[in-house]
Amino acid sequence: MDWIEALQANATSPAVLFFALGFAAAVLRSDLKIPDALYVTLTIYLLCAIGLKGGVALSSAPFARLWLPLLAAIALGAAIPLWSYALLRRALGFSQVDAAAIGAHYGSVSAFTFVAASNYLQSIDVPFPGESVALLAVMESPAILVGIWLGRPGADAGRTRVGEIVREALLGRSVLLLLGSLLIGVLAGKRGMAQVEGFFVVPFQGVLCLFLLELGLVAGRRCGDLRHVGPRLLLFGLAAPLAHGALGAWIGTSIGFDVGGATLFGVLAASASYIAAPAAIRQALPDASPTLYLTAALVVTFPFNLAVGIPYVYALARAWGA
């Protein structure tokens, strides 16, 4: 399978098409709306499902094998905001706090880009290590903490409590659900998984479609904000996933992952957080502009990864892994 085929296989997957449908509906200003309760439900479901699957994989795999990847993931997550910050501040002319905020988003990860990538691998029958979901869990927070540290104003604004924020970044909803269901998967094992497969495995890919329909709507509605974002951030939002994806795939290959694992590692690096990071950054760095970081992560980078980034990283991982 070459590049074109990889792209094609991705572009005709129901999940990606549902994202496009949601995006189109929003751009055409349809009255289609997804209840917030459904969004939260889908989020919880998807996180628990991938956590469980990862946990079951872990329960039958040597945990030791994970130390190196975990450390690499944490280091990469913490490093991305550093060079992104330098680039955004020096070369692209953003203010200190905006550069720090954007860097935090690109160092952190998007769980649903990860899910879409594993879905993609599954649909083209490429195996991947189930434990890699642990990487997702540990990679969410480091970048947020680094970003907050980079953007912290000299004179503290009074309303930001760094302790609080660190606690939240480490104990946020998604990290908690991921780690919790990972642990449940480890404890319940294959036997427990067999009981709940009918809910957490069988309908999984279809549920993902519904979720991406919703994300398409959200991204499409925010499309108008692209005007406020400017060409420089647009460029960054497209270049960052290409660069970070390649770097991640390379590191993944280097530390011994197979093609599937290296792809997921690369996709994590390429993805930008649009849920956990905005919530934390809006509180810790209220002077940074949400229009910038949210639009870049959600309207530019997420769809780009979904359509192009995932097959691109996969193609690299395959080339290097062979």
Binding site: I34, P35, D36, E214, V218, P278, Q283, P286, P290
Partner: protein
């Protein structure tokens, strides 16, 4: 029945500011308040709220006049420059002043 004058402060604000707002209200001496999500139509256009975190919430606090003054000042200083927020105040009457 005997009524006691209080101020009701209504705050319409982006949902991401929730934590900061709760802290501010508590510090300003509000004994309680209610929060609910709203669909907001602001200066720019309708702001859809499919994801509650990206939406808007409305907060209503009934407080003593002195606390209202302090609350408005803090909002003016810390919130107006940073968040998408609308604040207004009105007069209300309560029966049990000791609860506020």
């Amino acid at each position: 029945m005997q009524r006691h004058p209080m101020r009701r402060v209504t705050i319409v604000i982006e949902a991401l500011a929730r934590e900061a707002l709760c802290r501010l209200l508590t510090e300003a001496g509000a004994q309680g308040f209610t929060i609910f999500p709203v669909e907001s139509h602001g200066a720019h256009a309708a702001q859809p709220s499919d994801i509650a975190e990206f939406g808007t919430l409305q907060c209503e606090a009934v407080v003593r006049p002195a606390a209202a003054e302090e609350l408005l000042q803090s909002l003016f200083r810390d919130f107006f420059p940073r968040y998408a927020v609308i604040v207004y105040e009105s007069e209300v009457w309560v029966l049990r002043p000791e609860k506020f």
